[in-house]
Symmetry: C2
């Protein structure tokens, strides 16, 4: 099977692109930014000069067989995860995704049927979150294996996105959903908190935000360090997935929930009206700067 015929088989799994003037089959993909609905709406409301106020948002993320998924995992779920991980990062900025590129590296053609299912999952995730897969790349690994890299691009208005570095002392530390035990299945099937993150950013509620990918124990110190604050956690309050111990909630990783800081909680009623299915929990407060570590968490490059 040659490269062209594999690409043709994969391309069939994808929806047609409407925002791409050019996609698979030319040297590059060419995208009209105004096909991003939020950007188009801003321009319609405030005029073309508004375009200069928007920023391009870029993210790349890879998943590796044996590390982020296993051979026995259904390809459809693997493909969902590959794109959903990038969307979770967009959620953590409050950004609006538009276009994705997919780079696949695999050792041999025996992966092609699996890859077709992976593309089904990519396509379903893309459709669910309004993203278009506009191009890709196929290469052959020398060793055994399968790697899926997704590059996601999109938009956010200047001054309306949330960094990790914006928290101050005395703020609330909040997480969405429940933590721990993702390995039971959620790491493949999670819903990136995209609308939720966009809402928190647009309303100016979150002062600092990230998604929890390596576990609260690793990710909270990163957010605190970026913001130059310390933190005090109410360990009993940390929301745990059913059957999980505290150490799992702290350290399992791949929760893909939002972790953010905010100055008050007056907006909680409005949150519940909008996102009734997604609970929020205050798990602590920021305090004066200090170097703090928590035990646990997942290092993507640790020796396994």
């Amino acid at each position: 099977m040659d490269e062209n015929s594999i690409i043709a088989r994969l391309q069939q799994r994808l929806a047609a692109c409407s925002s791409a003037e050019l996609s698979i089959g030319d040297d590059c993909a060419v995208i009209n930014p105004l096909q991003c609905p939020e950007l188009a709406a801003a321009v319609a409301a405030r005029g073309a000069a508004q375009l200069g106020e928007w920023r391009m948002v870029l993210k790349v993320d890879s998943i590796v067989q044996g590390r982020h998924f296993l051979p026995q995992h259904a390809g459809e779920r693997v493909g969902w995860k590959a794109l959903a991980r990038c969307l979770s990062d967009f959620a953590a900025m409050g950004a609006y995704p538009q276009s994705a590129l997919v780079a696949v590296a695999m050792s041999d053609e025996s992966y092609v049927p699996k890859l077709e299912r992976i593309y089904d999952g990519l396509a379903r995730c893309a459709q669910t979150y309004g993203v278009e897969v506009v191009g890709g790349e196929l290469s052959r690994l020398q060793g055994e294996g399968l790697v899926i890299s997704v590059s996601l691009s999109g938009w956010v208005e200047a001054g309306h996105y949330v960094r990790r570095s914006g928290a101050s002392q005395g703020e609330y530390i909040v997480v969405s959903g429940a933590l721990g035990g993702s390995i039971a299945g959620k790491h493949l099937d999670f819903q990136p908190r995209l609308a939720e993150g966009q809402w928190l950013a647009r309303k100016g509620i979150a002062t600092a935000m990230m998604d929890i990918s390596d576990g609260l124990a690793r990710d909270l110190p990163r957010l605190a360090a970026a913001s130059g604050v310390g933190f005090e956690l109410d360990y009993a309050a940390i929301p745990r997935s059913p059957g999980c111990e505290l150490q799992q909630a702290l350290g399992d990783g791949e929760d893909f929930e939002l972790l953010f800081c905010c100055r008050d909680l007056e907006w909680l009623g409005e949150w519940q009206q909008n996102f009734a299915a997604v609970p929020l929990t205050v798990i602590g407060r920021t305090q004066a700067a200090s170097t703090q570590a928590l035990s646990g968490g997942f290092d993507h490059f640790e020796r396994v």
Copy 2:
């Protein structure tokens, strides 16, 4: 060595980002499109409404150790190649690159010193062509190996870029430089024809264009098929690298020269004034549509 310390070592190799409001260290990179000089110049000359006429250009490309480079190749050259391949695709559209993301997958930490050299090469190529490396990703392969994926984003004005599909019957078929023998070293050290491709696009000279990555024998039929034309080649005219036979010029691949069609040759004098060091050769003419194949060329996914 954990992920954070490897990333810190690699980040040191990169120049500081001026167009990125956020780069390495947050969930996503955030880029101001108006830091792309060509886009900014167009807006300065014609006003903000002009922004709506620009299109985002996206490309991803991967190189794999053992396939696109060898363990004994200097990392600095490997890093140059990783980005230059994407730039060659931008050249073939006449597009203006702005930001790159780099995803690395490797089997173990023994690759880190090599990877530092690779980042030196990426940084040098980025600086040479006015690109900023604004983020990346590190993951661990299960099998032995090293994969570098580069995602490049940039801009082009609507109606001022060149597809593969725009050629008509009776046009000239032209290539830049000389073909064949890239494996002797050029595949690592080539100069992507970025300014040349942008010039051909801006002047409206090229009706269809691509870069030669898999060899003329594979790439010309792709351009012809996309344009719905046939072709007649003057085999004796095909410019060969020193010491190369015709079959090498047709089939070696990784030439990273421009292949394009044009209606006349009146602009050749102006080309020579601008790009004296880059010869152009007419190698044939397009003709009525037909399905044509040439023998030779490189399939990135062929069994090796």
